[in-house]
Subunit: 251 residues, 2 copies
């Protein structure tokens, strides 16, 4: 699979419902722009064996893997150790990470737990953290990032120049005040006629409006002119059903 | 694993970043209340082989699996067929689902695509949809629900009476205006002394406040008095570091 990617979200707080993950959407949009296909996401808790198993499954299958969470200073931050074990390599203080962190703290405050953030698997390259200092790292095809969204975004920016580029997916989104089930037959025919694009349908319900049932119809594909042809055909279909198609901000 | 659960989120729109998944958090909170442990989440696209592989992995490993997405009327809604194939059973119109949907539409509007929503794997039981009619279903330990959050929530309510109950996890959350790295050594010692609970640390940064760096510290466990004992010890630790612990709404 060319330019495929997966995300591994690590943290009990996601699985307990305490924290709403937003990093997946951030990374998904980021990859879409670069033309990298996000194929799968997994969320596991702060359990070393679970992290190792998921990481090894994903890194074997996809070109790139992005992890978030578990690289802070506390006892429940075990991602770096889990990644080292997944790759079968050692782990220890990374001189550059150590120096960088040491310089951040007043004398006496660079305690053993903070030093944990300088523990990097052998052979990994650091990923800069312009927000709070403690770096992420890259090992093989795996990018290990923080879970705090602001820090994660900074790390994505640091990673970006080194990532492969693909042909970005073009997409056109058209909204129609037609119930999804009413446009579904025409949509299925349209999909058959335009096999080089993927047509998705996302229904909505807007209470208190004249035509509350509608759908956002999204045409996606790597060939921009094929996408545009399908979108024009889609707009004709919507008009043939007595509604006015409306192009909306795509995604 | 007793009372373990996984979620399988199905939909290209999550992987493209177009749609922010919120169903995971909703289900996670729902399961926490019931004392069911959510252990893993996976997100896959609208690709039959991917859905089948993920579903078979999860249903073999966990007591309960909840899927969201892909049960509407359009060509990209392929979850029911994928579930049937995963279980190796046939699929066809379910008489009750068919009658229920037929009654919803004016004469002539119950088209073939809408009829797709009455296609249910053989042997499955329907899950009521009080919002928009088209049912979900249960097959073995797998609960198949809609992706639209309002509909998904209604299906969760319909499913609830039939789910096993576990001992809910008790949790106490304490906020402290202490940088995570400063409390980390004491926290690690606390975790060692209280092995019957899990202590999580979630840092925050509040720009423009007097002490912008802080952490929410969460003690979780099935033994409520053990949780309380650890929380009291945690509050002492925070005070010993010169800050005022503050219990906050838990989760």
């Amino acid at each position: 699979m060319e330019n495929s990617a997966a995300i591994l979200v690590i943290g009990d707080e996601i699985l307990s419902g305490r924290t709403q993950d937003t990093n997946t959407t951030t990374i998904a949009k980021f990859l879409t722009v670069l033309g990298i296909d996000l194929k799968e996401v997994r969320v596991v808790g702060d359990v070393e064996e679970e992290i190792i198993a998921a990481l090894n499954a994903l890194r074997a299958r996809y070109d790139l893997v992005f992890t978030t969470g578990g690289i802070g200073p506390t006892h429940d931050d075990i991602t770096a150790d889990a990644v080292a074990r997944a790759f079968g390599v050692g782990i220890g203080y990374h001189p550059e990470a150590y120096a960088l962190l040491e310089a951040r703290y007043p004398p006496g405050e660079f305690n053993d737990m903070r030093k944990r953030m300088a523990r990097i698997p052998h052979g990994a390259a650091l990923v800069a953290n312009t927000v709070s200092g403690a770096p992420g790292f890259q090992l093989g095809n795996v990018y290990v990032m923080a879970g705090v969204p602001m820090v994660m975004r900074a790390m994505l920016e640091a990673i970006e120049p080194g990532l492969p580029r693909g042909l970005p997916v073009a997409s056109v989104a058209v909204e129609a005040a037609i119930p999804e089930g009413a446009i579904a037959p025409g949509l299925a025919a349209l999909q058959k006629d335009h096999k080089d694009v993927a047509i998705g349908s996302y229904p909505f319900y807007r209470e208190g409006t004249a035509a509350p049932f509608g759908a956002q119809l999204v045409v996606r594909g790597r060939d921009g002119s094929a996408v545009e042809r399908a979108a024009v055909a889609l707009e004709s279909l919507i008009r043939s059903l007595g509604a006015a198609p409306q192009r909306i901000k795509s995604g």
